[in-house]
Amino acid sequence: MKKVAIFTEGQTELIFIRYLAGIEFGWDKISVRCISLARSDNSLAGLNCENPQADFLFQIIEVGNDEGVLSKIKELEKRLLKSGFEKIFGLRDIYSEAYLKRVGRKIVPDIINRFIESTMLIVQNMSSPDKVKFHFAIMEVEAWFLGICNIFEKINTKLTVQYIAEKLQFNLDEIDPQEKFVRPSEKVNQIFQLIGRKYDKSRGDVEIICREIDRNDIQAILESNRCQSFKGFYTDITSF
């Protein structure tokens, strides 16, 4: 069984990766082990899929804070590789306290690149940099949800791209969410509010979105000009 360890900032990324693994590799071919280092109630164990016959093990670990993702990988890199994990991935949002402190609520590509470069420098200095892949969702992983334009229509038929455009003045077919929205999760919340719901990154909210994603949606976003940060992540996570 091939094993990979993936460190995420929060449960939104964790749940998304879990579904992505299921879609891309097939649920019958994977085992999923979810661990939260941010909460001590073992509640994410409900997301585990144990399959001794699986070809791949995805061990997804919620670290609980943005900066902690890289630190945790650095701390555990050798130990994990020694334990038989072939690759280690990190995924975090660019939108963070550190980013806000630097530039406020603006998208500044230079600063984003500096965030990425400084992280990659640390990765390059790890003991096995070829086995560690670190990715940023720009600005948040919700940008990737917004990049799957028709996902909201699947949740509620009322939420067509056109309806969202009329009500919220942005057309998901025409924009690149990673370049347009500094806080994509707020936009997802606005969309949810159109049907009397709210989106606050709770497990239930994220599940509602992720369970509607299928292979065609992934293909569509890959073939579009949207969400380059997702494409990089997708390429690495599906080719270890």
Partner: protein, 380 residues
């Protein structure tokens, strides 16, 4: 004899009720948990039990109900003790399936008489434990194991001064007195006695152990403190003096770092105890407190090795992540707090969770923070 299992309740039925149930122990144990989960309290109830059954402490406690099971060469010894308002309510000793002592709230009961070959009636004062007041190696030799276990129990609170604030005045060099090894503030006296009784073996053991944890000492001695002046006619107080390998001068215990002195004191006391008589059980609360990462790790390794070599049961507690990361999960018992109760998770009662986590490649501390030791509860 080794402590195997303990169940304890105090203030049953009252708002202050607290209990632990079936806390099982191995040879080496590390109790981990957040603050106020009952780690120190657990060590304390073991210490109190030891002091009560050895007669070192009088029954001064308001409430307690013990069931302690010991293993003696494969034989199970179970001791029950319930008391309230300084009086024994119930006391019972069962060895294998034989009831050796059974006593009720009026102090009356039966006790097996070895030479007669059958139980006899007795009545003990309510404030006294029968296993202490009726100790008799001819008629009731079965109390001896309990007594020795309690007498040889050692408890060190690593988060305390461990004698750093205690100097010693020696009035008469020839005068020999017994040391109470349960008093952990007597570092100076114990070092002096250890050096006199065991000479170089003791001093070298202490120095070697200190080297192992990263404190390099050329000399350990006793003498007048060089950082404090005393006035008055109480004699000349003596303290521990150290010559560190990278320093020219001598450092007295008052000027030594707190972490270093705690380590030194623990090592002095342990080495003396191990040479004088093998302890039954060593309790160390807040192990590693005040030490840096490398030294706390090295101290833990040293203690575990000593316990293994001398077959002493070791029960430590901590909430320090460095310590947790350096002690294998097989030795862990995680304590979790619930109203009126502390629950325990270890590889004896939560084997699957412990084994599964070892496959994750994460640090031991992550096992603690993730709550992965708990069985998944879908209702959460």
């Amino acid at each position: 004899m080794q402590l195997q299992l303990i169940t304890y309740t105090q203030f049953e039925g009252q708002p202050e009720e607290w209990r632990i149930k079936d806390f099982s122990f191995g040879n080496i144990n590390l109790i981990v948990g957040k603050n106020a989960t009952g780690k120190s309290r657990t060590l304390n109830i073991i210490k109190v039990l030891g002091n009560l059954i050895s007669g070192d402490n009088k029954l001064v406690y308001k409430s307690g109900d013990y069931k302690a099971t010991f293993d003696k060469d494969g034989k199970q010894i179970t001791y029950f003790l319930r008391y309230g308002e300084k009086e024994v309510i119930k006391e019972k000793l069962v060895i294998g399936s034989d009831i050796k002592l059974d006593r009720g709230p009026d102090g009356k009961g039966t006790i097996h008489a070895e030479e007669l070959g059958h139980p006899i009636n007795f009545q003990a004062p309510l404030s006294e434990l029968a296993c202490v007041s009726r100790r008799d190696s001819v008629q009731h030799p079965f109390f001896e194991d309990l007594y020795k276990w309690g007498k040889k129990l050692r408890c060190y609170c690593f988060g305390t001064q461990l004698g750093r604030d205690h100097f010693a005045v020696f009035k008469d060099e020839k005068e020999e007195s017994e040391i109470n090894l349960k008093n952990t503030d007597q570092t100076v006296i114990i070092f002096k006695k250890g050096r006199k009784k065991y000479a170089n073996e003791f001093v070298n053991n202490v120095k070697n152990d200190m080297t192992q944890i990263g404190f390099y000492l050329n000399k350990i001695d006793i003498g007048r403190p060089n950082s404090i002046t005393f006035h008055g006619g109480i004699g000349q107080p003596q303290c521990i003096l150290l010559r560190e390998s990278d320093l020219k001068g001598t450092t007295d215990q008052n000027s030594t770092s707190q972490g270093m002195f705690r380590a030194l004191s623990l090592i002095i006391q342990l080495n003396y105890s191990l040479l004088a008589s093998i302890p039954s059980c060593i309790l160390v609360d807040d192990i590693g407190e005040g030490l840096d990462y490398e030294r706390s790790s090295a101290l833990i390794k040293l203690l575990i090795n000593k316990a293994k070599e001398s077959r002493v049961q070791l029960i430590m507690s901590t909430n320090d992540r460095f310590v947790m990361n350096n002690v294998p999960l097989e030795y862990w018992s995680i304590m979790q707090r619930f109203p009126n109760e502390s629950k325990i998770y270890n590889n004896r009662n939560s084997k699957k969770q412990f084994e599964d986590f070892e496959l994750t490649g994460l640090n031991n501390f992550d096992f603690f923070t993730s709550g992965a030791f708990e069985e998944h509860n879908p209702t959460k």
